[in-house]
């Protein structure tokens, strides 16, 4: 209410109590005026701002001229989160100028001093020109702790470097000197804990820059990062320099800070020296809440320094380059590669992965300067290899699986996927734990302290890393150490040792180290055979595990033997309808899917399905897995509708049991889509790929191979010319997401870059950007060939498949680039990669044929056959494809004799080696057609006719290579037969065949295939030649004109 009214009101109300009235009136006025006063002033509006104001009340308590202890304050020379730095004069015992740091906090100064005292001796031991001495500590009159240090005049290192426009190399040398100083302190047992540019001061001596680190020992004494994280220190964190704080310090969990925290800070320093800004934007960090700040530092992967430079805006980038006396491009190039790796090695979240010592870091920077290979690269990436092999075991596995995954993209038998991929590490460790617990119980009964201790040791090592579910490298180390101890320490406890051995084997298997796993499963089998006898369940159990490991090693025959023996034992023990029997059958069926094609494995899968439904009901994850396996069998047998039904059933079950956002749901969607695509590109397949991609995008990190594979398969059916803005944006974002993280396997990022490049490579978009992306992709691949981890085989397969789909869709050039990159990235690989390489060459050859590069095609097919013949049975499906392709390439380069030779050889093999009950090889029509065309070419029309007839007969009988996108459609055989008949003078029969074939091919051409067009031209040629030969120039001319 207005003042007048209020006065009137007061008068009436308090007329009987004038004293109280007056006082309350005064209060009322005072309160109002106070409120008004603050209202007009600008006020801090957030808690962070308020905290900063509060902070001011802690600083600036001393004045110049005052004396503190033996020191006289002369001049304030600095101010920071900790308090104020004074230049002071020491009076006694010697007169000298010193720096005095008065800590602002009202923390318990006795404790600070006590902590300093414990450090004092160690601090006194430090004697290094790169370290400022700390002389003394005490408390001011008002109880604030202070420290007295060597007075260093100079400029913070980052500013010094920028001001003097220091080039990268000089910066590195200066940085090395900082590392050496830090190393000196570390050797004396002193950790800095608060390394940052303002604590590293550069001065010039005779024109040479020398860095000196100040504040050693202060952070520890003030306890600003120690366990007693009072609310006060939380506030402290707001005004500190979180950008330089290591994740473990940020956690404040009481985890002991050690020298590796300093290594982290050195990494941040190096980052800033190189890229012009720290890995995490300090302004951004200061704006965020403490919780958010912690999360960022603990979890987010900063961009690589080189990417950070590239991401700067033009103006900034030029400036960052200029102060390094380099162009921006030269700068990014200098950082890319080794320097990126060195910095990121320091910035590992897990400190066990950082450089062990500051001198190790310095040595690596020296190696970079001397153009020697740096250790950061192989050392920190080796572990990633195991990781990626593990993730993609299924795509890698057995020989024939390559055919399947390559040509159809199916992920075989995904139950194992569910179990082996999803919670892999956690499960391994749970298993470790469970087994160890069981063994521990046993050994406790035996009162064997030694064994118990052993268990405990092992688990205490494995626990934390496994709980985080991220640290396979650490797990591998622990497992190796355990394996060594197992051999030496548990000699007298064979049963316990065997249990552990088996567990170890499984962990090795899950980590993708099959060789190590196999060594152990083999021992376990031998032990159990001796201990429990030939017909024991124990033996069967270990045989199954052994068999699975063998399958991973592609030792099919042995795997079959082990699983077969296990199956026989289990059936004898439990009858036929038992869950363990079903599990064994399932594994065997998977083996057969890869090795023998779908027929036999399908029968076994059906048996498994019956048992499991009986055992677990119709709604169980194992049932879903079996359905998925059946879907794969059907799909391989080109029974697409049935496959779709199986997959859909499995999918519905998975969705219900696992929820929608689950990797297994995505994989099943992916299988469904791949299967549908065998009928040619379809909107349904695309939609399923899209959903799989969407789920994987949510639940997997962008470097996960499964995600990249789905992306490739999805994009394979979308012609670049039709990709809309949305797709381009999606890819851009995907590439950006990948870039935000440290690459597990750099080469795995090549496909996304190539995809994006293809979309951008149009005049109206960004052809220059596309060229850059392609070069980046090439660099990534070349890098992986040199010494990096190899490309993921699943991804490489998908790259080939992408090429194949593009080829079938008529976008040969687009596919060729991807396929070439895939083949290139597999060069010089291990035995495992060669299977994929074979297929890659094969696809490459077909594409080269399609582009008229028949000479290249010959080379590609030969390369493919070379590997094929060494690895696979002679009647293998890939062989037929390769041989027919090679035959065509030979013929088209004018080497008819060679063409005939390889084709006839293939036919011989097919007839000779066919197992009595095996079906006709699906590639037979293709080879027959190709041979027929070769024969036509040299006018052996009679035999040619036989070949074509046989090819037509087989195809009509259901032997078809590709169900829809037919490289050798029936029409091709018809056309060839037409030519052969015409050659024999049987024109009446030839004419309708030729015309019909052309009509069919033109349909094909219209629907999908650019390759169809190529074939149609050949058919047309044949017709023209036919009418010419018959002396019917009018018809010939008519067809010729349509040929043109």
């Amino acid at each position: 209410m207005p003042p007048d009214e209020r006065a009137e009101f007061l008068r009436r109300t308090y007329v009987e109590n004038p004293g109280l009235r007056d006082r309350l009136r005064q209060i009322a006025q005072a309160v109002s005026s106070l409120e008004n006063e603050s209202r007009t002033a600008p006020l801090p509006s957030s808690d962070a701002e308020r905290a900063r104001v509060m902070e001011l009340a802690f600083t600036h308590q001393e004045v110049a001229g005052a004396s503190i202890g033996h020191y006289k304050l002369i001049q304030e020379i600095g101010e920071g989160g900790f308090g104020v730095v004074w230049m002071a004069e020491q009076q006694e015992p010697i007169r000298r100028r010193v720096a005095m740091k008065v800590i602002k906090s009202g923390m318990d100064s006795r404790e600070v001093i006590a902590r300093f005292e414990t450090e004092r001796q160690a601090l006194a031991l430090m004697d290094h020109p790169g370290i400022a001495r700390v002389f003394d500590a005490g408390t001011t009159q008002s109880g604030r702790p202070y420290f007295v240090m060597e007075l260093v005049r100079g400029t913070p290192i980052t500013r010094y470097c920028d001001d003097s426009r220091m080039p990268v190399e000089a910066r590195l040398r200066l940085f090395i000197s900082v590392c050496r100083a830090v190393q000196h302190a570390h050797q004396k047992g002193i950790i800095h804990r608060d390394l940052k540019p303002s604590n590293i001061i550069v001065t010039q001596h005779d024109g040479v820059a020398a860095a000196k680190i100040i504040d050693f020992g202060i952070a520890k004494a003030t306890g600003s990062e120690l366990r007693e994280r009072t609310l006060f220190t939380r506030f402290h964190a707001f005004i500190g320099t979180p950008a330089y704080t290591s994740p473990e310090q940020m956690e404040m969990s009481g985890l002991d800070v050690d020298t590796r925290s300093d290594i982290y800070s050195l990494g941040v320093l190096l980052y800033e020296l190189l890229a012009g800004r720290p890995p995490f934007d300090p302004a951004q960090l200061l704006k965020s809440s403490l919780e958010e700040m912690r999360r960022t530092i603990r979890e987010d992967e900063p961009p690589l320094p080189s990417q950070s430079v590239c991401a700067l805006q033009d103006g900034q980038r030029a400036a960052v380059g200029a102060v390094r006396s380099a162009t921006q491009e030269a700068l990014a190039n200098a950082l890319r590669g080794d320097l990126d790796w060195i910095v990121m090695h320091c910035l590992e979240k897990d400190r066990t992965r950082r450089y062990e010592t500051a001198s190790g870091l310095a040595a690596d920077v020296c190696r970079y300067l001397d153009n020697e290979p740096v250790t950061a690269r192989p050392a920190s990436t080796a572990y990633r290899i195991g990781k990626f092999v593990r993730r993609n075991r299924l795509a890698v596995v057995a020989a024939a699986a390559v055919v399947i995954s390559l040509m159809t993209g199916l992920v075989v038998a995904s139950v194992a996927l569910v179990r082996e991929r999803a919670a892999l590490i956690r499960e391994s460790t749970m298993r470790l734990e469970a087994d160890a617990n069981a063994a521990q119980a046993r050994t406790e009964a035996a009162k064997n302290d030694q064994v118990a201790r052993f268990m405990k040791d092992m688990l205490s090592g494995a626990g934390p890393s496994a709980a985080l579910g991220r640290d396979t490298a650490m797990l591998r180390d622990i497992v190796d150490a355990t394996a060594r101890r197992l051999d030496s320490e548990l000699k007298d406890h064979p049963e316990v040792a065997t249990d552990l051995l088996e567990t170890l084997a499984l962990v090795y298997r899950d980590l993708g180290f099959y060789q190590e796993a196999e060594e152990r499963t083999r021992k376990v089998v031998a032990f159990k055979r001796g201990r429990y006898g030939n017909g024991s369940a124990e033996l069967a159990d270990s045989l199954v595990k052994h068999g699975v490991v063998l399958r991973h090693l592609n030792r099919i025959k042995e795997a079959e033997a082990a699983l077969g023996e296990a199956l026989a034992i289990l059936r004898a023990l439990h009858g036929h309808a038992d869950a363990t029997v079903a599990d064994t059958l399932f594994e065997l069926a998977r083996l057969y899917t890869m090795d023998r094609g779908p027929g036999e494995s399908e029968r076994m899968m059906l048996e498994v399905l019956d048992i499991r439904r009986e055992e677990f009901g119709s709604n169980h994850i194992l049932v879903a897995a079996t359905l998925d396996g059946l879907g794969t069998s059907a799909s391989l047998d080109t029974r697409v509708a049935e496959a779709a039904e199986r997959y859909s059933e499995a999918l519905a079950m998975y969705r219900q049991l696992l929820g929608n956002d689950h990797p297994t749901v995505a994989l099943t969607l992916y299988n469904l889509a791949s299967s549908l695509r065998n009928e040619g590109p379809s909107p349904r397949a695309t939609a399923h790929f899209r959903e799989a991609l969407f789920i994987q995008g949510k639940v997997l990190d962008p470097d996960h191979p499964d995600l990249v594979v789905t992306l490739l398969d999805y994009m394979a059916d979308i012609p670049a010319s039709e990709a809309d803005e949305e797709t381009t944006e999606f890819l851009r974002e995907f590439v950006a997401r990948q870039r935000r993280a440290m690459p597990r396997v750099p080469a795995n990022r090549a496909p996304a870059l190539i995809l994006l490049a293809t979309l951008l490579d149009r005049p109206e978009r960004d052809p220059a950007g596309a060229a850059l992306l392609r070069r980046e992709a090439e660099d990534l691949i070349e890098g992986s060939l040199a010494d990096g981890p190899r490309i993921d085989l699943g991804i490489a397969s998908a790259m080939g498949r992408f090429g194949w789909c593009k080829f079938l869709n008529g976008n040969v050039a687009e596919g060729l680039r991807m396929c070439e990159a895939g083949v290139r990235s597999l060069h010089g690989g291990t035995e495992e990669t060669r299977g994929t390489l074979t297929a890659g060459y094969l696809i490459l050859g077909w594409m080269q044929n399609g582009m008229g590069r028949h000479g290249d095609a010959v080379a590609s097919f030969k390369e493919s056959l070379l590997i094929l013949r060494a690895r696979w049975p002679a009647n293998h499906g890939l062989l037929g494809l390769a041989v027919s392709g090679l035959g065509m390439a030979h013929r088209l380069t004018g080497h008819n004799a060679e063409a005939q030779q390889v084709l006839r050889e293939a036919l011989d093999v097919a007839n000779r080696d066919r197992a009595p009950n095996a079906g006709t090889p699906r590639w037979l029509p293709a080879v027959l057609c190709e041979l027929g065309r070769t024969l036509n070419h040299e006018s052996s029309f009679l035999e040619a006719g036989e070949c074509f007839r046989e090819a037509i007969r087989l195809q009509d009988g259901g032997v078809r290579m590709w169900s829809a996108a037919n490289v050798y459609p029936r029409a091709l055989a018809e056309s060839g037969l037409g030519v052969a008949l015409a050659g024999q003078g049987r024109f009446g029969e030839a004419e309708p065949l030729l015309l019909h074939a052309l009509e069919e091919m033109r349909k094909e051409e219209r629907s999908t295939s650019g390759y169809g067009a190529v074939l149609a031209i050949e058919a047309l040629d044949a017709i023209v030649a036919f009418y010419d030969a018959r002396g019917m120039p009018e018809q010939a001319a008519r067809w010729r004109s349509s040929l043109e």
Binding site: M1, R6, F9, L10, T13, Y14, N17, L20, R21, R23, L24, R25, I27, A28, A30, V31, S32, L34, E35, E37, S38, T40, A41, P42, L43, P44, D47, A48, E49, R50, A51, R52, V53, M54, L56, A57, F58, T59, H60, Q61, E62, V63, S105, G106, Q141, S142, G143, R229, T230, L231, F232, R234, F235, F238, I239, A283, L286, S289, L290, E291
Partner: protein, 260 residues
């Protein structure tokens, strides 16, 4: 103008010299006579500064604006009466805790009686224009995780800051440099990134060199720190407690920001 000279008139220097000056709260605490008018004045001056935090505390107890206003006023009226002064004893510690525990007792015992009496036709209280308080209270972000005590402490800390800023600004305005203060203010608490406008532009607007501006900023920060310290000093009985009280207030601010 000579800044140091001006510094002298701000009257805050005493807190910087080491010996602890008499504060309003120490005066109150040391007084044992109920007729001590100096102590009375000191208490009164203190109380009116902490109206709003107490009001917040009562509101947080679930009472509506009118009752909270009545209750707070009644509480102060009693506190400022002769008996009220006697309650302030050194063992009761800082002024903040003294007020809080006093209000807690008041709410559980006397207020119940007092409001009963009022319903029977007792005294109506003075509305002191605190409708604004209601508005302010209702507009504050309501972190339900805060207890009434935490809300009180937070409000207390915020009041302390706002008052120190307000006073400092008034001082600048008095010496004809309000504009300077308003330009400096966001820099003071901006954490190094006080705004989007570069410092040299800000300086140029005030026809200052960037260096002079930086010096002015440094001084303003110093003074605000001193002001705040002085405000806090006012409410403690011993200079040794200032830092502890400051830490408590910092914690009160951070409590709302997120759990430790």
């Amino acid at each position: 103008m000579n800044v140091d000279e001006e510094w002298g008139i701000s009257g805050e220097r005493a807190t910087r010299t080491g010996s602890f000056p008499e504060t309003q709260w120490s005066i109150v605490l040391r007084s044992d006579a109920s007729g001590d008018t100096r102590a009375h004045a000191a208490l009164e001056s203190l109380c009116l500064k902490y109206w709003y935090p107490l009001y917040t505390f009562v509101r947080r107890q679930g009472r509506d604006h009118h009752e909270a206003e009545d209750c707070t006023q009644e509480f102060f009226a009693r506190l400022l009466s002769a008996e009220g002064l006697k309650r302030a004893r050194p063992e009761r510690g800082r002024f903040r805790s003294f007020l809080l525990s006093g209000m807690r007792n008041f709410l559980t015992s006397e207020w119940r009686r007092a409001s009963a009496a009022k319903r029977g036709g007792g005294l109506a209280t003075v509305p002191i224009g605190t409708v604004d308080f209601d508005e302010r209270f209702c507009h504050e972000p309501r972190d339900t995780a805060l207890t009434p005590e935490q809300a009180f402490d937070r409000s207390w800390a915020l009041g302390m800051i706002d008052r120190a800023v307000g006073e400092l600004r008034a001082e600048y305005v008095r010496s004809g440099r309000g504009e300077l203060f308003d330009s400096l203010a966001p820099q003071i608490w901006g954490g190094g990134s006080g705004g989007t406008v570069p410092v040299d532009v800000l300086a140029a607007r005030l026809e200052m060199t960037a260096q002079a501006y930086a010096v002015a900023l440094h001084r303003a920060r110093r003074r605000l720190g001193d002001r705040l310290r002085a405000r806090v000093a006012e409410t403690v009985a011993d200079s040794k407690e200032i830092d502890a009280e400051l830490r408590h207030l910092v914690a009160a601010i951070n409590e709302a920001t997120g759990p430790a």
